[in-house]
Amino acid sequence: MNLSIQRFTLLLILSLLFTFLSVSTYSYFTQQEKTAKLMFKSINSEISEVNYIISKSTNSENDILLFRPLLDRIAVNNDYLGAIVIHDGNNILLSTDPYYKKIFSTSEILCNEKSIYDELLNTKAVESTIRFYIDNEVHTLKLMFILDQSEIKLFFNEKKTDFLVIFTFLPLLMIGIIWFLIRILVVKPLEKLRQFAYYQNEIPKAFKLKELEVIRYSMVETFSRIENEKKELYAIARTDSLSGLANRNALKEYLTRLIANFTREKREFSMLFLDLDHFKTVNDSLGHNIGDELLKQVSTIIDKVLRSDDFVARVGGDEFVIILQNYSSIHELINIIDRIQSALSKTIVVQTHPININSSIGIAFFPKDGKDIVSLMKNSDIAMYEAKKKGRAQYHFFTEALNKRVQETITLEKEMKKALINDEYELYYQPKIDMSSGKIIAVEALIRWNSPSKGMISPIEFIPLAEENGFIIELGEWILKTAIKQQAIFKESGMDIVVSINLSSKQLFCDDFMELFSKYMKEYGASPSLIDIEITEYMFYENNEKNMKVLNELHEYGVSISLDDFGTGYSSLSYLKDFPIDYLKIDKSFIDDYDEERGRVFIDTIVKMGQTLKMKIIAEGVECIEQIEYLNSINCDQYQGYYMSKPLCVEEFEKLYKSR
């Protein structure tokens, strides 16, 4: 049987209490008997004494009354006497209590109880016979001490209360205190030790009892040592001893968690399988120690290049796996890969040996290229071998289509930048016609890339890429400069027309944009009133305050602002109210629907609204005379489109302008 300390203590205390109470109770009843006996003896002695005095001093029954003061005094001084009575058997001759009138019979006086205590409580009176002589004749009277039972009971009740308080209540209180102390000092600490031994989650605070404190201290020390060893073992099991990076085990654990999370969140991450090119040669030529040192340095370089939320593990001799989970586009991912490969391609000095080494990287995506660890590892490894096959120091995506697209994008990116240097870009101009006069009053400058190898490349192909990789800022500056310059040339040649320039939001956000703009304006002597800046609704989404500031500055400079493609984005009337817009350009998609009732309603509404807001309305993509007639009927201000002309090079535009 298992017995808790708490219960054991309780049993021990209860046993002690039982013994103590038994002895005390026995002692109490013995004492009660003794007290009752003493009380009886005292009363009997007193009655005998009084009897003697009265007997010796009485010569007649009348003399009895003279003893009243004596009897009063005795009755008053003895708490347990209710009254003292002298009677002759029939009549009461004297009573200390005038209300007392009863003479007890012998049977009422004598009690035969088992204990003296019971006898005392049941005895109504103690009686004695007074013998006195008149001449030689003996006379008798009865002297009766009436017991005050209420006082006697009160006395014994008080003793009982004292006993209960001293021998019951106080021991119980003491037991409670002892039990409480044992619980606080022994039981609870032991329970804490048990919990600590079992869960080891909370170190108990120091205990009051020395022995328990020693045990606690020893346990804390032991568990602390075990915990440290456990952590050490855990780290060893998950760390590559050479590089200090995570090992294959750690990679597995990490991927298991990541796959579970990303499956739930339906997100994508990429696995990069990196292998050093010609590492075997380093080992063979310079020795394994140099090879190991190189691996350490490579690990440090990779670790430094990566961001805090990226993960890298060394999974083989010169093989590393990198997990990237936070990137917004393929372009950003390629940037990271470039950074890694670029950092590794620099000369690494190992023990005075300068080593140039490259790396090949294979890329697989979760979940597209693999939904589990094995398939991701296998596919990224395959992609890595593809990169090696293509001449090393390269990266390769596992999906061929993607790989192709990426490679094309990269090529385009390179060519796009090169094209600016080689002056392959050209601005084309599409005229804007005043609806009432039919005259060309403005042109929209539109970029064209005239590649020597690929011919004319549409801006749809390269502008989004330029926006993505930031090349748009450089290209935008060229457009701005060229358009402003062209406006000055138009002006000089007598063509008093407004030139509209499309600006990207990235360009507008550049801190030095206004500086650059005014520089070109001054440089070429362009007239601000003949420059129009075209923006799209998408510009309003971000950096609203900065946008408003730049647009206000442009407006104050004297240039007009056109809102391009109106109605296709997330149009908000508040933009029209807050921003300094001069022209609303209705998108071609609305103009195309001019022949439908619903389409007309939209066009009509936009025109009326714009004009009410004191803006001029330009219809885009106008392709037929009917559209012009309709637009004229609703008082649209200008139009632009193939009906008049497609975008033209400068020379052709000048011809067109002059021909009209």
């Binding site: 009063d72 008053v76 209300y99 039990w179």
Partner: protein, 295 residues
Amino acid sequence: MLKKIILIASLLFLFTSCTSEYDKRIKISATTWIGYIPLFYAKEKGWLSEINIKLLSVTSLAENMYIYEAGNSDAYTGTQYEYLSLSTSMPTLKPIIMFDRSNGGDLVMSNISLEELQSTTTEIDAYLEIDSINNTILEDFLVSKGLKNKNINYINKDQVQIKHLKVTSKPTIIVTYVPYNLSLEKNGFMELASTKDNHDIVVVDAMFTKTEFYNLHKAQFIELKQIVDRSIEALHKDPKEFYSVVQPYILEMDYEEFQASLNDIIWINKTFSDKLKTKMIQAKFPIRDLIKDES
């Protein structure tokens, strides 16, 4: 478990400690002097037991004082004489409840006339309770009646014994008080003087106890004062009923005598004159700690 033990212990303590409103039974000793008779009325009515007070009946003023001194009672009744006798050895003793002022209730009696006493040359027996106000009254009587130079044989007896004295040929002076005078009158003694005749002697009756005891049982004493007032009111309201209740304590008196004896005292339980206050202060009888009248 601990809670259970504490609960049981608390209950036990409650059961053993809260047995009545007043835990301590107070014992008060008193003589059956007409002035204290309201206490006996209250006893018989059960009012005293309600506040756990036990009344002890004593036959002499001096004995009453000694019983208190011996610690066999917690408070006692008496005149200023019994107060002053004990106050020297018990500095914290104080009067707490006033009962009455004697107005003829204390008497000097004799078997012969005053003139015979003045002219006698033989020894005069003087019966009295020497350790009581009797002594003061006797001394005043002897001086005022020119008997100071007489040969006085002082005999110290309790009034219960004195009341049984028979007229003899020997000149006798008895100092007594109501109701014992009635037995003596029946035995042939005549009244020579009383507190009604001499206004210089002030005899007041009160209850005394020690300050510390009073403070411990203040509530009980305040209730006792109310009970005394209630008893005296009952006396004024229905003397006959009152008499029927206390009659066993004053067997010597019939109803008429009882009523007559009431004329020998003035109740001062509630108020008393400024003149009396001054006299009591002069007699070093403190009145500031008297229990105030609640009504």
